[in-house]
């Protein structure tokens, strides 16, 4: 069981990297979703008038 630290570090890097990337994608996704919904609503309202 020697060198367990190395295995741990490598896993940390991989999972940390992928999860961080997914997290940033989700964050951007949410922000854009909000913007998109907002503007779609505005367009709909204006065209309804």
């Amino acid at each position: 069981m020697k060198n367990l630290g190395f295995l741990f570090a490598a896993n940390l890097a991989i999972w940390g990297g992928i999860v961080f990337y997914i997290f940033t994608l989700m964050k951007r996704n949410r922000a854009l979703r909000r913007d998109l919904d907002l503007i779609q609503e505005t367009v709909k309202k204006e065209s309804g008038k």
């Binding site: 020697k2 190395f6 990297g17 997914i22």
Partner: protein, 244 residues
Amino acid sequence: MSAEHELEEEETGTRPGEGGQVLFWLTAVGFVGALAAIFVFVPTEVTEGIVQRIMYFHVPCAWVAFFAFFIVFFCSVLFLWRREREWDIYAHASAEIGMLFCSLVLITGPIWAKPIWGVWWTWDPRLTLTLVLWLIYAAYLMLRLQTAEGSARAKYCAVVGIVGALDIPLIHFSVLWWGSQHPAPKIITSEGLGSGIDTSMGITLLVALGAFTLVYFLLMSLRVNIEKMKDEIDRLKKQRLYSN
């Protein structure tokens, strides 16, 4: 007018649809399977010990990085040929994901090498090639960041995407011939891994490769979705500007 737009939105797929759900669950299952194979199923390798398990992450990451860069090349060629925004989006998304996995390769490589080779880094051809690739696509993404959005940016990036990918075989041979002048790491070379590969190790590696490829596609769909939403927002904003 508005019905037509809703139809368009369905087509561009800015909302996660059925396919996205299937891909997500498939990836999740693949990942659980890969983790089980890596940490439970496969026996610990005799000479390298527990560190060898890093390889089941390292090799798939390298595969995904190379695959992603190939997709960049493919989409760049298609973009210059067809001039469709779609291909630019794919090239961008793939380059970003390729960079992520290339970075992971460069991080996990030294972590594996330190206990096995005794050094963090050697100028082994594969290591050098990966490092140079990382630099090429870092420049590619910087070019994207620093150029204003539009068709000019897409064209420049496509040219760099093509030029960069065509350089890969040349770099490969040059670092191979260059590296052969240096002594190869003595303890265990990475070739030793392939030759003495055990059936259970082979299966585990294949499962991991499959799982990481699914992750690539999942990330691609997320990333492409973001670009498409941006386009949609731009389009609506412009439309609103002109209609008022």
